[in-house]
């Protein structure tokens, strides 16, 4: 019998260790043929940005990501899925979000990770505020129509 498909969801201040999370997801099983890892990073926006500040709705953020992950596991028959989102101040070059999808074949793993990111962007209650290199606090990042369109392509 195949092992269950473990789903891990975390929201945390600390950075994550992609290798350790991947090892945890694949440990003790040899039925997976594909791992797709997505890591979202803070860009410096051409040197303009000093940091992003990530705010979230505790409880709902974890629950929304959890629901998205369960949908992805079912829809793409994933063998495992991990999603970790950081909050707090994040400097350019640092990690923001991690999704790891484990599947027997590559297309399911690619689709699973991509699906989670497209839904997470539009459904999970996180907000980004920009802090600029010149000391000004920028505004809140606007939601993008392109993210809604990306999500819509899955329905």
């Amino acid at each position: 019998m195949a092992a269950a498909a473990p789903v891990t969801v975390r929201v945390q201040h600390d950075d994550f260790d992609v290798a350790a999370e991947t090892a945890r997801l694949t440990a003790g099983r040899a039925d997976a043929g594909a791992i797709v890892t997505f890591t979202g990073l803070c860009r410096d926006e051409g040197g303009r940005l000093a940091a992003l500040e990530l705010e979230h709705y505790p409880g709902m953020a974890e629950a929304e990501i959890g629901q998205i992950c369960e949908q992805a596991v079912t829809r793409f028959s994933l063998l495992g899925l991990t999603a970790i989102h950081r909050v707090g101040k994040i400097a350019p070059g640092e990690n923001i979000v991690l999704v790891i999808a484990l599947a027997p074949h590559r297309h399911a793993a690619f689709d699973g990770a991509s699906f989670v990111m497209d839904y997470l962007k539009t459904s999970a209650p996180f907000w980004k505020k920009e802090h600029f290199a010149d000391g000004r606090t920028g505004g809140w990042v606007d939601a993008k129509d392109s993210d809604d369109q990306a999500r819509a392509k899955w329905s």
Binding site: V97, L120, P125, F126, K128, A143
Partner: protein, 84 residues
Amino acid sequence: MTKLVYFAWVRERIGKGEEDIDLPASVKTGSDLLRHLKTLGDDYAHALEHENVIRIAINQEHVEHDEPIAGAREIALFPPMTGG
């Protein structure tokens, strides 16, 4: 009493992250709630000026503006999400 929670620029403009509030019986939906809050002061009016961009969650689940709020323990108001 109903617990209201605010995030991002909704929180900043209203000037607090949460509050417990007595809602009049006439406030039956999310839309009613937004209109009621806007009568409570300039901060609320500014935060909720563009009603159509405000997202509403009842008991930590997304709902449409016309959803009834009866029995809600916690209602959250926030801007479109920008995580990931």
